[in-house]
Symmetry: C2
Subunit: 98 residues, 2 copies
């Protein structure tokens, strides 16, 4: 089972990954992405889905038209682990800086 | 602009489309779908995304692993219209009875 991230690594998440923030009321990280339209938002979601499936670690996410809100946590560990950090980096790559 | 569905057609939504229900606190309809795993859930989402894009009417939805929760409303009309009924039917077809 993955361990919760130590404080120093947790702090590094936000240094490395602009726009990500802690979720209020639970141990999780989140970011909202906005695209030009639904097609671009869903193309992004497809890239994220493939990355998530490859690492067998999946996001909680919601989409409304051009907006995608993503929350990451590791269910088994009860909080944020290295898996979430890795997936957040893959998500940034999938967004191409969006 | 689409008109809000008259009461008789609104009632027919739930007769035709099992599992769909009114949303509390807003004029919208919703249903949750559960699949075997993330890959099957996202395959369903991809079918829905293509149907939505084809009719230029998009869902509000969230996904966590094998679960997809979909809410339909027509933003411009401020409630449920024939577009939502049509998209709900396409979603049922995409789910294949899931």
């Amino acid at each position: 089972m993955a361990s919760l991230l130590p404080p120093a690594e947790r702090a590094a998440i936000f240094a490395d990954l602009p726009g990500w923030h802690d979720c209020e009321g639970r141990d999780a990280i989140a970011k909202s992405f906005v695209f030009a339209d639904f097609a671009q938002a869903f193309a992004f979601m497809t890239r994220v889905a493939l990355a998530a499936e490859r690492m067998n670690h999946h996001p909680e996410w919601r989409n409304t038209y051009n907006r995608v809100e993503i929350t990451l946590a590791t269910h088994d560990a009860g909080g944020v682990t290295a898996f979430d950090l890795r997936l957040a980096r893959d998500i940034e790559a999938a967004a191409g800086g969006a």
